[in-house]
């Protein structure tokens, strides 16, 4: 690739997307440091260093994908999908158990979470399928096929069990189908089926999952376990006030009321809310807003349907994660264990998120219309 091509890429990119992403990643690392800061005598303190490494790895992926034509990437969709399905199967058999769930695979001493990459696989495969020339978005068979593509990895991930991540697959597939112009009638039918399936789902849920939903509905049901996290997270967020207590000053966080195992991962947002107050937490929302705007823009300006669907799927994915996680942190939703994109501690998720955003950038760079 010669210099003028690189220049073309740099100039046509969506600067908002890149900058907001970097800002969020930097903020994530700083607050992971804050969450681990007090535990100098515990392994948590090394988390931020590892997170920096993951950000760098993710950035390489981001740039690579932004420079690559997304159609080329989508060409490998079935490969990516197939490999991630295989890895998910592998997880079920030889996965590493952490707290009763096996989600990780050990590769050269690095813990990889295949479900994160399965999201990308589903995204690409469903988008590609829905963008086929001969596809009739109103044909129930085609609709069923698209849903089945998300269903296979859904079952595998739900068995781990990791229901939160599994649910994101539906979010991705539904957004793509919706943007692809499915008839309202079918969406209604889907909604109805979903409602009817809820009792079935309740029965098939694991005990701890049911318990979590009950904890949410009956706020103080298990105030010493999952409820404790919720109460403490709410206190952390609430006590942040308008401007917060200052970096490294969050007492909820530093004094360990917020359990040290979840503060840097699922509850990173409450660390920010406590230490930086409404100003900080709202800023984070604005940054996510910028990324989502870029996503919508990508879906709008994409030169073909494939690009539009991929951009829409990515937007749905990011939105789902952010909304569920923030809502959980401030006590509006059950505790699902869904991490916050670009901020929560975790390598697989960081890299897969940045890869997705690289794909989005690639769509924007190769946009058709002016916008």
């Amino acid at each position: 690739m010669n210099w003028s091509a690189i220049k073309w890429h740099i100039l046509r990119q969506d600067w908002g997307l890149t900058l907001a992403m970097l800002a969020l990643a930097v903020a994530g690392v700083s607050f992971i440091y804050s969450a681990g800061f007090q535990h100098v005598d515990l392994p948590v303190s090394a988390m931020y260093q590892r997170q920096i490494l993951w950000v760098l790895v993710g950035l390489v992926g981001y740039i690579t994908l932004a420079m690559t034509d997304y159609r080329q990437v989508a060409g490998a969709a079935w490969w990516i999908y197939g490999v991630s399905l295989g890895l998910l199967m592998l997880v079920l058999f030889v996965g590493r158990q952490v707290h009763g769930a096996s989600r990780w695979l050990s590769l050269f001493n690095i813990q990889v979470q295949p479900s994160e990459f399965a999201k990308l696989g589903v995204l690409l495969v469903v988008a590609r399928y829905w963008a086929r020339v001969d596809l009739d978005p109103d044909h129930p068979g085609h609709l069923a096929a698209a849903l089945a593509l998300a269903g296979a990895p859904f079952i595998l991930i739900a068995r781990q069990p990791d229901l939160g991540t599994a649910m994101t697959l539906w979010a991705i597939a539904l957004v793509i189908i919706f943007v692809g112009g499915v008839r309202f009638k079918w969406l209604l039918v889907l909604g109805l089926v979903g409602l009817l399936l809820m009792p079935v789902a309740w029965v098939s849920l694991g005990n701890y999952q049911r318990e979590r939903i009950r904890v949410f509905l009956d706020a103080d049901r298990d105030p010493f376990g999952a409820g404790w996290n919720k109460i403490q997270s709410q206190i952390a967020v609430g006590s942040g006030g308008l401007t917060g207590k200052g970096y490294l000053q969050g007492t909820q966080n530093v004094l360990g009321y917020l359990p040290r195992t979840v503060a840097p991962t699922d509850f990173i947002y409450s660390v920010i809310a406590e230490e930086k107050g409404f100003a900080g937490s709202a800023t984070m929302l604005v940054l996510y807003g910028i990324i989502l705007t870029a996503g919508i823009r990508g879906a709008w300006v994409a030169r073909d349907r494939l690009g539009r669907y991929i951009a829409a799927g990515i937007t749905g994915l990011i939105f789902f994660h952010v909304f569920v996680n923030v809502a959980m942190t401030i006590g509006l939703m059950p505790i699902t264990g869904l991490p916050l994109p670009l901020m929560s501690y975790g390598g697989s998720f960081m890299v897969s998120t940045m890869l997705a955003l690289g794909l989005l950038q690639s769509i924007i760079i190769r946009r058709g219309r002016r916008f």
């Binding site: 005598d41 404790w228 403490q232 609430g238």
Partner: protein, 584 residues
């Protein structure tokens, strides 16, 4: 999507700015404290409702680490706590109990739980606490049930004791917060731990900087375990222990009709209360080093050569296999020659000619040498096996052992040698490699008392929810039938009756006026020959008709069954039958 974000923003504004003050208040005085509410561990009773293991309230001084947390590394909190502990110790006028390691260990392993700084404090300390320290941030009184064994040493081995439950550290799952404070470590406490254990409950209270409790936020009811009714009889146990007169040994008393264990005595004993809440290492070491070995539960975990109490087994084996009749007569000149080896009778002058019933009465060795050689060892082996020797009885205790019933295969395995006539001769009088537990011999005595059916010993007869009404009874296991012929069992029982009642019985001096009972003495040599040490045994059942008691009594180191064990059984039975005189 934009709407959703606006919604999140509004909610954030509401929580952080509008209601921020309220949360800041909560947080400032943090605030929320998890208070453990201990559950009630089920109690152990004897068959008449006397409490054998009970709970009493114990007051501890507990430290709530989250309220004492200092910013920065845990080291700073530990430093701070150490200073505080010294101050408090001075105020309370007690020694500091927690070392720095204890604190660090607690932080690593049991962080969400209160850290107990002083365990089971006395009334005076409690008073000083109320005067000076009540209301200090981060410490409070923590009350829990403490196990207590009101009969001290009497039931030591069979009840066992409890110890502190140690949860595996798993910070993600605070469920071990509900684990009971104590778990059974040995004896019935251990075997029925899951039945008696009681999960702790908890209360979430909001406290302020001076420890004032503002409100209960949440509550989870503590659990309660099941009360367990044992088959033990407090009075029988006491009489049995008294009968041993402090000499190391075992007493087992069974109800032959059901297998109910009425008494299970192991002497010397220890005080299980010494293990509550935890035994000091000095005391533990003393128990371990004691040459009298008080920690061994002799009747179920001790194995001994049975000696002559094995003879009834040989007799019944001969009769039941039609290899000999009750009229089989052998002549005893006082010794027996097998090849070039000479086996003596305990009576060197010889017993003369004896039939089978007389051979039991007078415990003639030569008779059994000859009888055993005539019938062959497999018949003896199979009868002993059917009576439960060489295998665990299945009593509800974890540390039971099986003893050893040797056979040809065992001998080949162990000595690479075939079974020989000499082995049969040894086995016939319960010597050689054979070992049994006193409990096994009590079961044999019960089978002879019943005229066949073998009971399976059991220690628990009922259970009920904590403190709630009558015990729901458990059915005893059905007896295992032996289908002995009436003539055979009459001969063996008659011989054992003569041991006490006959003119030449080896334990005729142990008879009781107005009572007909049956027994068999045994004197088993152990240890190096020149030391001449002997286990003194007696198995017995009483009354002779419709027996209610089957007894195995053994003194570790005695003169002989007749001289040492007999009088003890006599004393025990005199108490039991008097006690039982009123009926019941």
């Amino acid at each position: 999507m934009a709407l959703a974000f606006v919604f999140l923003g509004v909610m954030l504004w509401r929580i952080q700015v509008v209601h921020g003050e309220r949360y800041r208040d909560d947080e400032l005085r943090q605030s929320v404290r998890r208070v453990r509410l201990p559950g009630m561990r089920g109690r152990l009773y004897d068959r008449h409702g006397i409490v054998l293991a009970d709970n009493r309230p114990g007051h501890h001084i507990a430290v709530y680490l989250e309220e004492l947390r200092r910013p920065g590394g845990w080291v700073r909190t530990v430093d701070h706590l150490e200073l505080q502990l010294d101050t408090w110790a001075q105020e309370l006028n007690v020694e500091r109990e927690l070392s720095r390691t204890d604190i660090e260990m607690h932080i690593r392993r049991r962080l969400p739980m209160p850290l107990i700084a002083w365990r089971d404090i006395d009334e005076r300390t409690l008073g000083r606490w109320a005067e000076r320290l009540a209301g200090i941030r981060g410490v409070d009184i923590y009350t829990e049930a403490v196990r207590v064994y009101p009969h001290n040493e009497l039931f030591a081995h069979v009840l066992g004791y409890v110890g502190r439950a140690d949860a595996e550290p798993d910070p993600e799952e605070p469920f071990h917060y509900y684990l009971p404070e104590m778990t059974g470590r040995s004896g019935l406490e251990r075997r029925y731990d899951t039945l008696m254990r009681a999960d702790a409950g908890a209360r979430l209270v909001r406290v302020d900087a001076v420890g004032y409790r503002h409100a209960d936020l949440a509550f989870r009811e503590p659990g309660a375990g099941y009360d367990v009714q044992t088959t033990l009889d407090h009075r029988v146990q006491e009489a049995a222990r008294r009968a041993l007169e402090g000499e190391p040994g075992s007493v087992v008393v069974l109800d032959p009709r059901t297998g109910d264990v009425l008494a299970l005595v192991s002497e010397p004993a220890f005080d299980p209360n010494a293990f509550i809440p935890a035994i000091t290492s000095a005391r533990w070491q003393a128990l371990l080093d004691d040459p009298r070995r008080p920690l061994i539960h002799r009747p179920v975990a001790g194995t001994y050569a049975p000696g002559s109490i094995f003879k009834p087994v040989v007799a019944i084996a001969a009769l039941e296999n039609n290899l000999a009749t009750p009229d089989a007569v052998f002549y005893c000149p006082g010794h027996f020659e097998l090849g070039r080896a000479r086996f003596h009778c305990w009576n060197r002058r010889g017993h003369g000619s004896l039939n089978m019933r007389q051979s039991l009465e007078r415990s003639c060795n030569v008779y059994y040498y000859r009888l055993a050689l005539q019938i062959g060892y497999p018949a003896i082996y199979h009868m002993a096996r059917a009576l439960g020797l060489g295998q665990r009885t299945g009593i509800d205790l974890d540390h039971e052992v099986s003893g050893l019933l040797p056979d040809d295969a065992w001998k080949r395995r162990t000595f690479n040698d075939a079974w020989r006539d000499g082995d049969t001769v040894n086995l016939s009088i319960g010597q050689g490699p054979i070992t049994v537990t006193p409990l096994q011999m009590a079961v044999v005595a019960a089978a002879l008392a019943n005229g066949g059916p073998v009971p399976r010993p059991r220690l628990v007869r009922g259970q009920r929810p904590f403190g709630d009404g009558a015990f729901a009874p458990r059915d005893p296991e059905p007896l295992r039938p032996m289908n002995w012929s009436a003539a055979a069992i009459a001969t063996v029982r008659g011989g054992m009756r003569d041991v006490i009642m006959g003119e030449r019985g080896t334990a005729r001096t142990s008879s009781l006026p107005g009572v007909v009972y049956a027994a068999k003495t045994g004197t088993a040599e152990f240890g190096p020959k020149d030391e001449g040490r002997k286990h003194a045994w007696m198995i017995a059942f009483a009354p002779y008709d419709n027996p209610r008691y089957a007894i195995a009594l053994m003194v570790d180191d005695g003169l002989s069954g007749g001289q040492t064990a007999g009088p003890k059984v006599q004393r025990l039975l005199s108490e039991l039958l008097q006690v039982q005189g009123g009926g019941s």
